[in-house]
């Protein structure tokens, strides 16, 4: 693919003090989820009087669409804003903030397009804090191809998101998921906004439980082919897939630890237990070995907490292993079937799936308060949750539409939002960690 845009001149210079920037409009994504920012995207303007761009409408729509992806943003229409929200220009000095302030707009976006000797057009995108009357962030691009418009929109949206919340994992961190079709399982990559969908490889057999390494260079997964279980590793640098036959009859739910090792559930004795592997894919030590099924390990970003699913009390429940003192704590007491737990990178929230009389639903357990909250409500089954690296978004798969597709919600239960995958079904999604 053609290398990203030309990026550009990057961040537009601001005529603001750093102190003013520090007080810029922000949203606390770990809050109760009631805070909303009213956003208005002004219609595109030409940067020079004689310039006309055929991309105006497409870019305008793309930017509006990107900002519809977040529950903490409410997008206002031109009918909601005085004088239809028209602006004289796209820079700070051109904006009459009063009418936006009176129309209760918190965040104003301007779009400017002009001629460029280096490409099809120069694009300038800005976000303003209306109350402070300051520039929150800005980006400029030289467009080489109309196909780059979506990339322009998402780079800008990521910058705004980062300014507002401090994170941009939503746009920056790709997701992998499994699509299934007639005996062939395929691993795909996509971003949460549906951008960049691509197939990584096919497997004639069953492929499940993909999980990224913390350095984003490898993906580990479990595979069943020819009546045998394998641990699979996709090297994203060499694009090679390796299959390792591990001891025992079962090899499921592999994950990378923050230290780069692999933890996996193997059935070496009577029941599946959780083991840590060494770099040569040999069993190094048992992490959890107990009567009952012990599966689905998942670590926080420091690597001192591990959640897992265990049937040691008769039915599957969620447990937490403190890796420092080796103490195991039961997390779930409600419901008879709690599985597929993941823990937020900061180790505070445990997100899991519970089988209710109406199907599987996603729940969040706050380890600080001990409180539990349901964040999805069907219909159908909502399963296989996965928390984003910022700890705010929760990916899951659901058959609410009649077939399994990918969705995301937030730890506050907003949405959910469908992740477009061009008609593919979607299972066991896994979000990548922040690039280091």
């Amino acid at each position: 693919m053609k290398k990203i845009i030309i990026a550009l001149g990057t961040v537009i210079l601001l005529s603001l003090s750093s102190a003013a920037l520090g007080k810029a409009l922000r949203i606390t994504i770990y809050g109760p989820g009631e805070q909303k920012i009213a956003l208005f995207v002004a219609k595109p303007l030409s940067l020079t009087p004689s310039f006309y761009s055929a991309f105006n409408n497409k870019l305008y729509r793309l930017i509006q669409d990107k900002f519809k992806l977040f529950p903490f943003l409410t997008q206002l229409s031109s009918k909601d804003v005085l004088e239809g929200g028209q602006v004289k220009g796209v820079t700070l000095k051109d904006i009459d903030f009063k009418k936006f302030f009176l129309s209760k707009v918190d965040l104003l976006i301007t779009i400017g397009l002009g001629p460029s000797s280096k490409g099809l057009a120069r694009i300038e995108l800005r976000a303003f804090d209306v109350f402070k009357q300051t520039l929150l962030t800005g980006k400029a691009f030289i467009l080489q191809s109309p196909n780059q418009l979506e990339m322009v929109a998402r780079i800008f949206a990521a910058a705004v998101l980062k300014k507002l919340s401090g994170y941009s994992a939503f746009f920056d961190n790709p997701i992998v998921f499994v699509a299934r079709n007639k005996g062939v399982n395929s691993l795909y990559e996509v971003y949460a906004d549906g951008f960049g969908l691509k197939k990584l490889f096919d497997l004639k057999g069953i492929l499940t439980s993909p999980c990224w390494s913390f350095d984003r260079k490898r993906i580990v997964f479990s595979a069943i082919k020819n009546n045998r279980n394998f641990l699979g590793v996709l090297d994203l640098v060499s694009h090679k897939v390796e299959y390792h036959k591990l001891p025992g009859t079962l090899c499921i739910s592999p994950v990378f630890t923050p230290q780069g090792n692999i933890a996996v559930s193997l059935s070496l004795g009577q029941d599946p237990d959780i083991f840590l592997l060494d770099k040569n894919f040999k069993v190094k030590k048992a992490l959890v070995q107990h009567w009952g099924i012990d599966i689905s390990p998942f670590f926080d970003q420091k690597g001192d907490k591990m959640v897992f699913t265990s049937s040691r009390f008769g039915n599957p429940q969620i447990f937490l292993l403190n890796l420092e003192n080796k103490q195991v704590q039961r997390v779930t007491y409600e419901g008879n079937y709690n599985t597929s737990a993941v823990i937020s990178p900061d180790g505070r929230l445990i997100v899991y799936s519970r089988l209710t009389p109406n199907g599987h639903r996603i729940f969040v357990h706050d380890l600080n308060t001990g409180l539990e909250r349901q964040i999805t409500f069907g219909p159908g089954n909502d399963e296989e949750p996965f928390v984003s690296s910022d700890g705010y978004f929760v990916l899951f798969t659901s058959n609410r539409s009649g077939r399994y597709q990918l969705y995301y919600t937030t730890i506050n239960g907003d949405g959910p939002y469908l992740i477009p995958t061009q008609g593919l079904n979607g299972f066991v999604p896994a979000w990548s960690w922040d690039k280091k």
């Binding site: 439980s209 099924i293 599966i295």
Partner: protein
């Protein structure tokens, strides 16, 4: 003299034709007279070598032709194979979130054990399956427990562990794709497949 010669030729030709005609008659066999006496008239017109060959083989086949006997053997072997496959292939079913063998499952496994003990060359794979209601990873673990439950019971009945392989497919290969209790009950199962004989 001419008369004598003519009579001699007639007598010799009669003798010759009589002896040829006799050779065409299929001799009775030791095991039965079906071929010569009760067989269809057409059989009496067979050539000597055919008749002899048939006569020899008829000694072993209660009056069946060699081909019929071979076909019968094949049929019997096929029938036996089918019976073995039917017994080995009989599924066992489980309750929701359970890998406990029910009494009827144990009876089915006992039948399988008899067959496996009588045919020591047969190797099988035991597949554990689950209904769609559980989650993927847990169902893979549960499916393995289901396969293992049957595997261990067969070992207790004397079947060599090396003749059995287990695998779990979790909820990935439902027998009945419907989303109802009837379908789920069918899908919570162990399947047994012969991988070598």
């Amino acid at each position: 003299m001419v008369r004598f010669l003519g009579l001699s030729i007639v007598i010799l030709s009669l003798i010759f034709s009589a002896s040829c005609a006799k050779k065409k008659v299929i001799p009775p066999t030791e095991t039965g007279s079906a071929v010569s006496g009760q067989g269809p008239a057409g059989q009496e017109q067979m050539g000597q070598s055919q008749a002899e060959a048939q006569g020899e083989e008829s000694n072993q086949g209660q009056g069946l032709t060699a081909e019929e006997l071979e076909a019968q053997k094949r049929l019997q072997a096929q029938k036996e194979q089918e019976e073995i496959k039917a017994i080995i292939g009989k599924r066992i079913h489980f309750d929701f979130d359970s890998f406990a063998l029910k009494p009827e499952a144990k009876d089915i496994l006992k039948e399988k054990a008899k067959v496996l003990l009588a045919h020591p060359k047969i190797k099988i794979v035991i597949e554990g399956h689950c209904d769609e209601r559980g989650t993927e990873e847990y169902n893979l673990a549960l499916g393995e427990k289901r396969a293992k439950a049957a595997y261990e019971f067969l070992i207790l009945l004397g079947v060599d562990a090396n003749r059995m392989q287990i695998v779990s497919y979790g909820e990935e290969r439902p027998l009945d794709p419907r989303h109802c209790e009837e379908a789920w009950a069918k899908n919570r199962r162990d399947e047994f497949k012969i991988i070598s004989e």
